[in-house]
Symmetry: C2
Subunit: 425 residues, 2 copies
């Protein structure tokens, strides 16, 4: 694609990808489950046999990245170690072992007219996936889309172009080896930023766009897309410790939600504590957080209990730290906690710790988030933990898929009607 | 709203509607089912007691419409007869009798970690509905949104402004009488076209837009909206008569799909017939269609059997007539029929008539439409016929709701997690 030098030929190139994807999608939509699974296993085998080529391509990207002054964290995300390649192989095998969602027929009920009506699960069609530096996303995304009968157009980060091309060769050779169209998975082979803009407007051939990456990327995609987007914005998650909480559970959940992993969207960013129990639980929690190296920021009342922590500013309540930093606020009661969560949260994941039945029920109903929990760590908000078998992301949208998106989120249901010559009276 | 004279005050007015709707939606989302039903019944009562005021407002619109030279069909859609008002009252009572979808908890399964994960059905939030001349849509849309716990911002046709205002007074008095916020249902009280543009960009307060009306409206909304849209474009529906069809069923279904009603989106617009059986079934069908006054247009091979019909042009295969006009094409086999449907159809509703098990199954899987039928009239594609109890439209989208959209299509599901102090290991 070095030949792509002007806007017109880029347009043509993108249109061609779109048409090829659309044509592949109609074959994929009706591919037998066994054949899709064979393709996944063949791609895994190709990754193993072509491992050296993939690593050489990755070395090129790494060298280029160092030249371009990428920071250590970015270089780390970019690198395909043996372990990561094995992780990709393992992921492909796991997806092949999942139940196939396509063609599933449900709810076939007879109606008074005599017709029988229900639903059949079908693929969405063509999915455009836009992501940043990690090349292993290429395999994860391709595998889930393939299993759910969708064709994919992938746009990875420009830093990973060679790695993604090498991985795509494995994918396409796997597809071909089982007789599925190689255009079922295509990578946009140019680093031209304008390609993303074109992809986001290809409503004739692309059915849905999934952005995976930082806030900047997702906001750009949301703003420009002329196609439905399944997006995951930030994760500002809360734990609320009620004054009827069992305090040992509260301690475990508050600690785990923050410190199990820091750079993940389902980590807690703000801890809310009912003021009646703050003096009982806060000192012990503060000690534990500090032992783990977590920086604490508190509201005025929190700092009356622990004067050593910084004051939280208004901005803190709206911040996704993705780091060992935690803001803490004391609230009057659950009502105030819920108001805080619905106002400052990102509708991702929020948890209450309480033994009170009525409050638990009310929290469940009233908190407007994609995952609402009782007495459990926010870290459970995850496709694998929820039993989806895999996850392409966590949607904070309300339309279509909400929460962790697995195979089912990449499908749609159409109505089917069985009759025996029935007509409307 | 005559005071709205400049863009700035219009912006402010729209933002105010949005904020009021958002605030009402959080109350509605947790309103008890009984209270929502009481509101629906109170609105029905208000329509009865305020019938004269509603009709007077409607008379104003009708007089204005005549002045402005609206055609007979538009004036007819605009008119609120006693019968139509009774229809609205009856509709409200029916919606109140439906099962409440909100709060429904499903699929609570235990996971190996010990947490219990499932889903809870919740409202979408604030729904913007943009429609054209029929004022009864104001009641239908408000009723479905209210029952599903959503706040609504309604934008009716400018021809119906007075009628919609009078109806909205009934709605708001009904809401107030049961203690629900009157801003749960608001009508945009200006005919300024710019208001639609603003509504389509209010992503902070509006969660989804539903356009109901002609192709022009829906295309404008799709193009401009910065918010997810549940849309229904055209209905180019097909019946395919296979060469293994039982011909009496084929005759009934082909006739009913076209002639039961003409101006509806689930009427058949193109009839496809396997060439092997065309001579057997076509002459009888042609006679029946002509008796009903249906104008026929045929492909070359169709016209070899009946030379009296006009030749169908390439454009005919892509046309939604919404009228007593039908295009007919002979095809080699089911494969060609499916290709025709997926290429020329609008992914709305398509039906095969066949006794062949394998073909029926293949047609179901391969036709990419929101309703796919075997041996049944396309006219069954309807929320009431499918048992949804009501319908706000028929979605030809694949994302979120597909096919007839009832109460469930106006909701979302969030994940809920029950634990007992569980943390991630």
């Amino acid at each position: 694609m070095n030949a792509v030098i002007n806007q017109q030929s880029l347009e043509q190139y993108m249109q061609q990808l779109g048409e090829q994807a659309k044509s592949a999608s109609s074959i994929l939509a009706n591919a037998e489950p066994g054949r899709k699974n064979d393709a996944l296993l063949a791609i895994a085998d190709a990754l193993i046999t072509q491992r050296d080529a993939v690593k050489q391509a990755n070395d090129k990207d790494l060298a280029q990245g160092k030249n371009d002054g990428l920071d250590e964290a970015m270089l780390d995300r970019l690198e395909l170690t043996d372990e990561r390649i094995e992780g990709m192989v393992e992921g492909l095998r796991q997806v092949s072992a999942l139940a196939d969602p396509i063609g599933q027929i449900t709810d076939m009920d007879y109606r008074p007219s005599g017709i029988q009506v229900g639903k059949m699960r079908v693929p969405l069609g063509v999915i455009g996936i836009i992501y940043e530096s990690r090349p292993n996303v290429t395999i994860d995304a391709a595998a889930l889309c393939l299993k759910s009968g969708n064709a994919t157009i992938l746009r990875g980060g420009k830093e990973a172009l060679h790695s993604n091309q090498a991985i795509t060769e494995c994918i396409q050779s796997g597809l071909k080896s089982v007789g599925l169209p190689e255009h079922a998975v295509q990578v946009i082979n140019t680093t031209d930023r304008a390609a993303v803009g074109i992809l986001l407007s290809m409503s004739d051939s692309v059915d849905v766009i999934i952005p995976r990456g930082g806030k900047g990327l997702i906001e750009r995609v949301s703003r420009e897309a002329k196609i439905p987007v399944i997006k995951h914005l930030d994760g500002i998650c809360h734990v609320y410790i009620d004054d009827q909480a069992e305090l040992t559970k509260a301690f475990d959940i508050a600690l785990n939600s923050k410190t199990h992993r820091y750079g993940v969207c389902n980590a807690m960013e703000t801890l809310l504590i009912a003021k009646n129990v703050a003096e009982k639980i806060l000192p012990e929690l503060v000690t534990a957080y500090r032992e783990k190296g977590v920086e604490l920021k508190g509201c005025e009342n929190t700092r009356k209990i622990d004067a050593d922590m910084k004051a939280a500013t208004a901005e803190d309540w709206d911040t996704e730290y993705l780091a060992p930093v935690l803001s803490i606020r004391l609230v009057d009661d659950m009502q105030q906690a819920i108001e805080h969560i619905n106002l400052h949260g990102s509708h991702h994941t929020d948890s209450i710790v309480t033994e009170n039945y009525t409050r638990a029920r009310q929290f469940l109903a009233t908190v407007d988030s994609s995952s609402v929990m009782i007495n459990a760590s926010t870290r459970f908000a995850d496709g694998f933990e929820y039993g989806l078998g895999a996850e392409i992301g966590i949607s904070t949208d309300k339309i279509h898929a909400r929460g962790p998106v697995g195979l089912e989120g990449l499908t749609s249901q159409k109505y089917i009607v069985f009759g025996d010559g029935h007509i409307r009276q």
